[in-house]
């Protein structure tokens, strides 16, 4: 029997693909910003700039939780959604 989800999937066969690409790009962006923060922290820790180190660490953790949150929207593996 066809249901709403199936009809949707048939109408937009590229949906999961787009979602996947979007998530991966966002994740790459997040990791990029974190690399930047880490670089800044390493540089600033040398001159005992502790305030910056703390702010960057907090920011980095926020980005990590953002990345974790994004994983929630990861499309199901194809096999699984077919079986349902």
């Amino acid at each position: 029997m066809s249901d709403f989800r199936e009809a949707q999937n048939q109408a937009h066969p590229n949906k999961t693909n787009t979602l996947m690409v979007g998530i991966i790009f966002l994740l790459i962006g997040i990791v990029g910003i974190q690399i930047w923060l880490l670089y800044g922290t390493l540089n600033n820790a040398l001159s005992e700039n502790q305030g910056f180190a703390l702010a960057a660490a907090i920011g980095s953790f926020v980005f990590f939780f953002l990345a974790l949150f994004l994983l929630k929207y990861l499309p199901d593996a194809r096999g699984k959604s077919r079986r349902n």
């Binding site: 994740l27 540089n43 980005f63």
Partner: protein, 174 residues
């Protein structure tokens, strides 16, 4: 023992790897996304460790006075390299700028840690790596990529002997 016909048709390799090819690629993108997330966690952890380390073990100031050499060892316009042993062995550069005027700077360029040297002709400290220039008097950056001034030590002259200690504005001999 009876096999049903369907089971017979399935080759062994297919039983061992029961993942369809297109499914395999689909899964790998999921895995890639998860891997990126793991990487993100690693970055956050690294950043956290640096922050904790900088708060838990702030680098200590140099304690006490250290004897370097006799004043007669370094002529005006000349320099002497020395290392102060401690937790970290930091190389320093002692400069005799003019009569009675001494300076001691960390020898590591604040840009990418190349060894800086004193150029007496132009009275500047120069970093040969990327043409960074520092003021020989104060250690401030004059030109080039270094982001911070050179860290400095105070120099004291007592009985024709040169001593250094942690930098304090007022103690500097000019």
């Amino acid at each position: 023992m009876a096999y049903n016909s369907k089971e017979k048709e399935t080759p062994n390799w297919k039983k061992d790897f029961p993942v369809k090819k297109d499914e395999a690629t689909h899964v790998s993108r999921r895995e890639f996304a998860k891997f990126l997330c793991l990487l993100s966690g690693g970055m956050a952890l690294g950043n956290g460790i640096i922050a904790i380390k900088s708060f838990a073990f702030p680098s200590k100031e140099l304690e006490g006075e250290h004897f370097i050499c006799n004043t007669s060892d370094v002529a005006i316009g000349q320099t002497k390299e020395f290392i102060i042993e401690g937790e970290k062995n930091i190389p320093y550069l002692l400069i005799h700028l003019s009569e009675g005027k001494w300076r001691a700077f960390e020898q590591k360029c604040t840009h990418l840690s190349c060894a800086v040297r004193y150029n007496a002709e132009i009275n500047k400290i120069e970093c040969p790596c990327h043409k960074g220039f520092f003021d020989a008097d104060t250690g401030t950056v004059l030109a080039g990529p270094p982001p911070r001034p050179l860290p400095q030590l105070s120099v004291h002259i007592k009985n024709e002997k040169v001593y250094v200690s942690a930098y304090k504005e007022s103690k500097t001999i000019s």
